[in-house]
C-alpha cells in the first residue's frame, strides 16, 4: 500500500502513522521549513529542532520526507506525480484552498478525473459540506459541539475539555478505518475517489451516554464530577501516595455492600442503605465519601489494590507517564518501541500475529527529497 501525506497537522500525521504501522509506504510532503508537527516539540532542553521534536519522532515514524512548496506550480506538478502512483492521498481540506490544475485539493468533483487510481482521504474539522465547513476549531471547540465537555467537570464550574487533543486522535482513527476500507474495496474493484472525514462527527459519534438518556427519557444530563449515570463510586480519589480510580468493576459477585464495607473496614455499615442500595448511594454519595476517603488516605495504592483484588474488586490505576514507562505489564508485553536518544515511544495498538505492526525512524526534513523529486520528474516510482 502506498500513501502520500500532504502534511497538515496532527490528525493527518497520526492517520498516516497508523497506516505506516499497518505496512504502508508513506511519503510525507512538507512545506519548506517543515510542518507544524515538527515545530510542536517537546524538544530536549526546549531547544527547537525540526528533526528533533518529540511529537514528530512519535507520529512520523517510518515515513519518507520530501519538501515541496505547493504554492509553486512546478512543485505541485511533482506532488501530482507522486500521488498518481499512490493508493491514498491523506490531507486536510479547506474550500477553495490549494487548488491548481495539477492538484485539485479544494475541488473534490475533479479529483476522480485527475487521479482515477488514488483515493483522497480528507480530514477536516467539520467535513467538506454543511454550515460549519469553513469554521475554525481545535479539540476544545469540537469537544464542546460534540456534547463531550458539557458533561465533563464540576457542576458549579466551567465545562472541562480533555487534557489532550482528543478530536485529532478520533479523526485520525476514523480516517484510518475509512482509508483501509477504501483500499480493500478498490482492490475488489470498487473505488471511492474522495473520502470525507469530519473530526466533529468522529467525536460526536461517542456521545452515547448523553444522547441515549435524552432520546429515551427527555432528560438532559449535566456535568457532575465527570460521573456517568448511574453508579457510585466511579471517581478518581486521592489515597496515601497518589490516586486510584474507585470503580469497583465486579468479578461476578453481587454483594457490593458486604465486600466494600469489608474493604473499608466498616463491617458495621454492611446493612446501611448507603452500601446496600445503589440509587441511595448515588444520591447520598457524600455519606459514602465520608467513610471511603479517610480510609483511602490511610492506605497506599499498592495496599488498596492488593486488598481490593483479594476481595474480587477491580478498581482502576491512575498512572502518570513515569509509572507507565516503568509498568511491568507493558514491559512483559514488549509494548514500547525504541526512539532516538534512548527515548521510549509507544508501540502497536494491535498485536497482529501474521502482519506485525511496523515502525521505523522519523525522517529528517527532506531526507528523501532528492530521490523522490527525481523519481517524480522522470516518472519512476521512487520506491525506497
Amino acid at each position: 500500500m502506498r500513501v502520500v501525506e500532504i502534511a497538515a497537522g496532527r490528525a493527518v500525521a497520526y492517520c498516516t502513522q497508523l497506516l505506516a504501522q499497518f505496512g504502508a509506504e508513506v511519503i510525507r510532503i512538507e512545506p519548506p521549513g517543515g510542518d507544524a508537527i515538527r515545530l510542536a516539540g517537546p524538544f530536549t532542553g526546549d531547544e527547537p529542532d525540526p528533526d528533533g521534536g518529540g511529537l514528530h519522532a512519535a507520529i512520523n515514524r517510518g515515513k519518507r520526507s520530501v519538501v515541496l512548496d505547493l504554492e509553486r506550480d512546478e512543485a505541485a506538478a511533482l506532488a501530482a506525480r507522486l500521488i498518481e502512483g499512490a493508493d491514498l492521498l491523506v490531507s486536510d481540506w479547506r474550500e477553495g484552498e490549494r487548488s491548481s490544475s495539477d492538484l485539485p485539493l479544494g475541488d473534490p468533483d475533479r479529483w476522480g478525473e485527475r487521479f482515477p487510481e488514488t483515493t483522497f482521504v480528507s480530514i477536516s474539522d467539520f467535513g467538506m459540506t454543511g454550515p460549519y465547513a469553513s469554521w475554525r476549531a481545535d479539540s476544545q471547540i469540537i469537544e464542546g459541539l460534540a456534547g463531550f465537555s458539557y458533561v465533563s467537570g464540576d457542576p458549579e464550574r466551567e465545562p472541562l475539555s480533555a487534557g489532550i487533543e482528543l478530536s485529532d486522535y478520533f479523526a485520525a482513527t476514523h480516517a484510518t478505518i475509512a482509508a483501509l476500507a477504501a483500499v480493500a474495496a478498490a482492490r475488489r474493484g470498487q473505488r471511492a475517489h474522495v473520502v470525507d472525514v469530519s473530526a466533529h462527527e468522529a467525536l460526536t459519534m461517542t456521545d452515547d451516554h448523553n444522547l441515549v438518556v435524552w432520546l429515551g427519557s427527555g432528560v438532559v444530563r449535566k456535568r457532575y464530577y465527570s460521573r456517568i449515570l448511574p453508579g457510585y463510586p466511579n471517581d478518581i480519589m486521592a489515597c496515601k501516595d497518589g490516586y486510584i480510580a474507585f470503580v469497583p468493576v465486579g468479578t461476578g459477585h453481587h454483594d457490593f455492600a458486604g465486600v466494600v464495607s469489608t474493604l473499608l473496614e466498616r463491617p458495621d455499615l454492611k446493612d446501611s442503605p448507603i452500601f446496600t442500595e445503589t440509587q441511595t448511594r448515588n444520591l447520598r454519595w457524600r455519606e459514602f465519601d465520608a467513610v471511603a476517603l479517610p480510609w483511602l488516605a490511610r492506605h497506599t495504592r499498592e495496599e488498596i489494590f492488593r486488598r481490593a483484588g483479594e476481595l474480587g474488586l477491580g478498581f482502576g490505576t491512575v498512572p502518570d507517564v513515569e509509572d507507565l514507562l516503568g509498568d511491568s505489564h507493558l514491559e512483559e508485553r514488549d509494548y514500547w518501541e525504541a526512539g532516538p536518544d534512548d527515548v521510549r515511544l509507544t508501540g502497536a495498538g494491535a498485536i497482529m500475529s501474521a502482519t506485525p505492526q511496523r515502525f521505523g525512524p522519523a525522517p529528517a526534513l527532506d531526507a528523501d527529497g532528492d530521490a523522490l523529486r527525481a523519481s517524480a520528474a522522470d516518472g519512476t516510482d521512487g520506491a525506497a
Binding site: W135, P155, P159, T204, G314, T317, H329, T346
Partner: protein, 446 residues
C-alpha cells in the same frame, strides 16, 4: 457504501468496545451475527437492559433499548445457549463458515466456551480473530477487570485532565471504549487486506490501554527528555487564549480557542475590544498566558450577557475559533449535523423512532454509511442463521423445543428487569447531575 457485503462475521460481544467494532463492520456491509444468551428471568442483558426508555409498556426491555440500538443497529441476533455443548457446537459451525470473529470478554472466557482463538486459527486458517480487552490477552494485568471507566485512568490521560492545581479527573464520557474499538476495527480491515492477497487469516490482540497510550506521546516525550510531568491546567494550552466562558441562558457556555496572533486580533476586533490589542498585558502570546486570569474575566464579562450561538457565529465569521458547548438535545438539533445527515431515524421496539448517530460518519464520494436498519430483537434471526447453516425446519424446531436455540417469540415479558432499571431522574435533577427533564418529550411515532 457496503464494501464488505461478502463478509460474514460472528460477534461475541458486550459493553461498548466490541459492539462498536461490529456495528461499523456491519454498516460497511458485513453479515454480522451476534450470538446472544438465552433468556433467564431477571438476567442482566447489558446494553439490552441498561437505561431503558420511559413509558415501557410491554416489559420487553431487551427489544426497546437505545443503547443497544446505537451499538448494534443493523446486526442480526441468534440466541443460542452456550451453556449446552450442542449450542457451542452450532456456534463453532457458524464460526467455521465465517470470515472473522470479534470478542471482548475477559481473556480466557471465549476459550472456556470452546472458541479458543489459537485452536480456531489452526483449524480454520482463513479466519481473522479479533480480541478486544482492557489490558490484552497476556501479561500480569490481563485478568484485571476493566471497563471504559477504569481504562481512561489506566491510560494516564487523567494526569493532564482536570482543573488547574487540582487532582486528576476523568472526562464525562467513557471515550476509551470507542477509541480502542476503532483501533480494533482498523486492524481487522488491515488483516482483511492481507487475507485478500494471501488467503492467510490471523489473531489480533487489542489492549484498550495500549491502543490509547499514543494520545500521550507529547507527555511521554517531555518527561523523558526534560524530566517534566505535564499536568492539569483546565481548558488552557501554553501560548493560547483558551477557555469555556459563561453565556446568557441556563448553564450555557461558549468555547474560545485562539491559537495565534491572527486569531487573537480577529477575536478582539469582532468582539469590539480593539483596546485589548494595545494593552501591554496582552501584547504577545507569552504575556497573554501570564495574564490569562485577567483576560478570562474580561472575556466572561463580554460573553455573560450574550447567546452562545450568536457569539460563536460572530467570532467564526471573523476567523476566530469558537463554538457553543452543547447539551444532548442541542447536539441532536445541531444544524450542521443535520445538513450532513449524521443521524438516521431508527425504530426502537415499540417505543418510537429516534435519531441514531452514524458510527462511521465518513462519506465515500458523498455517500454515507448508515446502519442497515434498527437493532435486532433478541433472537430475531435465530431461525434464519440456523437455516443458513443447512439445518432443516424440523431440526430447528427440535433445537427450540430443547431450548438449545431460542427465537424472539419464546421470551416472556419480564417485569423484574423493567423495575430494576428505571432511574430516579427527578432525584438526580434535584441533586444536580440532571439539568432538566422535558416532560413533553416524545419520540417520533412508529
Amino acid at each position: 457504501m457496503r464494501f464488505f457485503e461478502d463478509l460474514k462475521i460472528v460477534a461475541l460481544t458486550q459493553g461498548w468496545v466490541g459492539p462498536l467494532a461490529t456495528r461499523i463492520l456491519s454498516d460497511l456491509g458485513a453479515n454480522m451475527v451476534r450470538v446472544e444468551r438465552a433468556f433467564t428471568p431477571g438476567g442482566n442483558y447489558g446494553n439490552r437492559t441498561l437505561f431503558p426508555p420511559r413509558n415501557d409498556i410491554t416489559g420487553e426491555v431487551w427489544n426497546r433499548n437505545i443503547y443497544f440500538t446505537v451499538r448494534n443497529a443493523g446486526t442480526r441476533s441468534a440466541m443460542i445457549d452456550l451453556g449446552q455443548e450442542e449450542g457451542r457446537a452450532l456456534v463453532r459451525r457458524l464460526i467455521s463458515e465465517a470470515d472473522a470473529v470479534v470478542e471482548n470478554f475477559m481473556p480466557g472466557v471465549v476459550a472456556r466456551l470452546g472458541f479458543d482463538f489459537k485452536e480456531l486459527h489452526e483449524q480454520f486458517p482463513h479466519l481473522i480473530l479479533l480480541h478486544l480487552s482492557g489490558f490484552g490477552q497476556t501479561g500480569p494485568n490481563a485478568f484485571r477487570p476493566a471497563n471504559g471507566m477504569t481504562m481512561e485512568p489506566a491510560s494516564g490521560v487523567p494526569t493532564v485532565t482536570g482543573y488547574h492545581g487540582e487532582g486528576p479527573t476523568k472526562t464525562g464520557q467513557t471515550w476509551v471504549d470507542p477509541y480502542s474499538g476503532l483501533h480494533g476495527t482498523a486492524a481487522l480491515i488491515a488483516a482483511l487486506i492481507h487475507r485478500d492477497r494471501t488467503g492467510e487469516g490471523q489473531i489480533i490482540d487489542v489492549s484498550m490501554q495500549e491502543a490509547t497510550l499514543p494520545v500521550l506521546e507529547s507527555q511521554f516525550a517531555d518527561y523523558q527528555r526534560n524530566g517534566r510531568h505535564q499536568t492539569r491546567d483546565g481548558n488552557r494550552r501554553p501560548g493560547m487564549v483558551r477557555g469555556a466562558y459563561p453565556c446568557a441562558g441556563d448553564d450555557d457556555w461558549v468555547a474560545i480557542s485562539l491559537r495565534d496572533e491572527a486569531e487573537w486580533q480577529a477575536f478582539c476586533r469582532a468582539s469590539g475590544h480593539e483596546a485589548w490589542l494595545d494593552d501591554p498585558r496582552f501584547g504577545d502570546a507569552a504575556s497573554r498566558t501570564e495574564h490569562h486570569d485577567a483576560l478570562d474575566e474580561l472575556i466572561a464579562a463580554w460573553t455573560r450577557e450574550r447567546d452562545k450561538f450568536e457569539i460563536a457565529a460572530l467570532l467564526q465569521a471573523a476567523g476566530a475559533p469558537a463554538g457553543p458547548i452543547l447539551k444532548a438535545d442541542e447536539v441532536i438539533a445541531d444544524p450542521h449535523l443535520a445538513a450532513r445527515e449524521f443521524f438516521d431515524d431508527l425504530k426502537i421496539g415499540d417505543f418510537g423512532r429516534v435519531p441514531i448517530q452514524r458510527y462511521l460518519p465518513a462519506k465515500f464520494d458523498g455517500a454515507a454509511v448508515p446502519a442497515k436498519g434498527p437493532a435486532p430483537d433478541l433472537g430475531a434471526d435465530t431461525d434464519a442463521v440456523l437455516a443458513e447453516l443447512g439445518l432443516s425446519a424440523a431440526e430447528i424446531e427440535d433445537l427450540h423445543e430443547r431450548r438449545v436455540a431460542d427465537r424472539a417469540s419464546d421470551l416472556q415479558s419480564d417485569p423484574i428487569a423493567r423495575e430494576g432499571t428505571q432511574l430516579p431522574f427527578e432525584d438526580y435533577e434535584e441533586m444536580g447531575s440532571v439539568l432538566r427533564i422535558d416532560r413533553d418529550y416524545a419520540p417520533k411515532p412508529l
